[in-house]
Amino acid sequence: MMTKPVMDQKPLMLRVTENKREAPDYATLFFDHSLAFRPGQFVMVWIPGLDEKPYTISHHGPHRFGITIEAKGVFSRKAIALTKGDLVGIRGPFGNGFDIQFSQRSAVVAGGCGMAPLATLVEQLPGDTTLIHGARSKDAILFPDRFALAREICTDDGSLGHKGLVTDLLERRITDGGSLDMVYACGPEIMMYKVFQLCETHGIPCQVSLERYMRCGFGVCGACVCGKQVVCKDGPVFGSEALREMKDFNKKALLKSGREVDLSLYFSWRCR
């Protein structure tokens, strides 16, 4: 039987081939199936009878891909408990992905599970790329042994690496190591905002990957609008130029009802 491709239409039902526990609250679900995909894009993940949510691809090979999930709310707790053989619907990929600048001096800045969408990008970038990774604690550092290139680590509790913020390390890198041509970032929105500000101060272009509540995934329903941008279609990756104009960046987001609220309220709702 010919294998059907994963498409941006009806979900394709795939069986989980492996559930790898990455850290206490993180697991990667692997599927033995091909997927046309660029780093930074996402798929909609359907657990029949429960819900469907957007997730990035954290592992990508010719015949296998993986989705790394942080247990936060009802859906993600159920998702990390899936086991080999369970059926999951996948549709996509959606979104633009990162605009990868190969031959330049670049830095990748990840906060917590923001490492997931950046991992396949890191694997494509040259060996002299700076990789900065922040997390709550040593336990929450995703993929500790995965990359060929060195990683600068910081933790909130100081249990590994620098005790402090990724922006401390990024600023030091810019001051000591000379300027950068591109910074790619994903993590909590406040972190990405600070990375963006730092890049603006130093005249460095950056790209960040945003998160909003989504429904269709392809730019029609409007659930994920952020300023004039449609996050699922125009993003989820936005460059400096778009970020400068995006008045809701690090400020506002829409709840499921469409009600616009402060980002802190949005994130406390999203983690339920």
């Binding site: 029609v220 449609v230 829409l254 009802s257």
Partner: protein, 302 residues
């Protein structure tokens, strides 16, 4: 291709269908800048409502099936949006819905005070006073809601009809008699269902959903054709319009303006300017105007 519609002049005859984008002033402004003549704010309901769980919108290749479930902050929780919309330089339709005549009236009265250019009532909702029967499939309930809303508002009233009505032209005539200033047709077709045969479950979380896009265009054209014959108020025709030629066809059926929704999926937000340009090119190649072709399909023996 400027066009007069009721009391407003629009830059072209394209309309953003309700439920597509439309969640904030910023995005409406972008749609307007992308060439849309008249944009519709997402439907506003009487209470805060989350809508359904996902999957809510699925592309079937020939169009979409959706059961988003009318999410709304509720009409009393939109002060920021109204404050922003007060300083707009483009016309808007505010779409509203309710579950009873009084809910429609209450929402409409409040929304009217915020001075949208038009109010559209979506009468494809189940009528809680008539055991869940849909308002817009029945002459009496359609008349009741239209006349109640019309008395409560001070802007022109558009009534959006459902193709589920057994005789949509009869409903349109009833709405006109009850005070509607324009008709918008059609809402999504169905409901339909898609079952995933591996998990043996309907794909949509709500199980059933409305169909839109190219697969419903012939139904939409037929409905607009029938409505045009039955009423003398203008008709916004929509359902599956993806190209300028689709829009021309809808105008020939009798549409004054053409609504665009699902085509945003296939041609991006730029679809409004593209369709307006394609309509204009089609007309100018034939030395025709929109007025020449409006309702042209109704002429016999020429």
């Amino acid at each position: 291709m400027g066009i007069r519609f009721l009391h407003r002049t629009l830059k072209n005859p394209t309309v953003l269908a309700s439920g597509i984008l439309g969640n904030s002033k910023d995005i409406l402004e972008r749609v307007h800048e992308a060439g849309c003549g008249l944009v519709t704010l997402k439907s506003i309901g009487p209470e805060p409502r989350d809508g359904h769980n996902n999957p809510t919108v699925i592309d079937l290749g020939c169009g979409l099936i959706n059961a988003v479930g009318l999410p709304s902050p509720g009409y009393l929780n939109m002060e920021n949006e109204w404050a922003e919309l007060e300083h707009r330089d483009f016309p808007i339709i505010a779409s509203i819905y309710g579950g009873s005549v009084d809910e429609y009236r209450r929402v409409a009265e409040y929304v009217s005070s915020k001075k949208p250019d038009f109010i559209e009532i979506n009468i494809s909702c189940p009528n809680s006073e008539q055991h869940g029967m849909i308002f817009g499939i029945n002459r009496d309930s359609s008349r009741a809601v239209v006349s109640a809303v019309k008395k409560a508002i001070s802007v022109p009233l558009i009534v959006k009809l459902t193709p589920q009505a057994p005789d949509i032209a009869d409903i349109a005539r009833t709405c006109e008699d009850a005070g509607a200033d324009a008709i918008c047709a059609i809402n999504t077709v169905g409901p339909g269902m898609v079952i995933d045969i591996e998990s043996k479950r309907p794909v949509l979380a709500f199980k059933k959903g409305g169909l839109s896009g190219p697969m419903i265009k012939p139904i939409a054209v037929r409905c607009v054709f029938d409505i045009y014959k039955a009423v003398s108020i203008p008709v916004i025709g929509l359902g599956g319009i993806t190209t300028g030629e689709d829009a021309i066809e809808m105008v020939m059926a009798g549409a004054e303006l053409v609504g665009i929704g699902t085509a945003v999926r296939y041609r991006g937000i730029e679809v409004f300017q593209k369709i307006a340009d394609e309509m204009e090119a089609w007309l100018s190649q034939r030395n025709l105007t929109l007025a020449d072709i409006k309702g042209a399909a109704h002429k016999e023996g020429e």
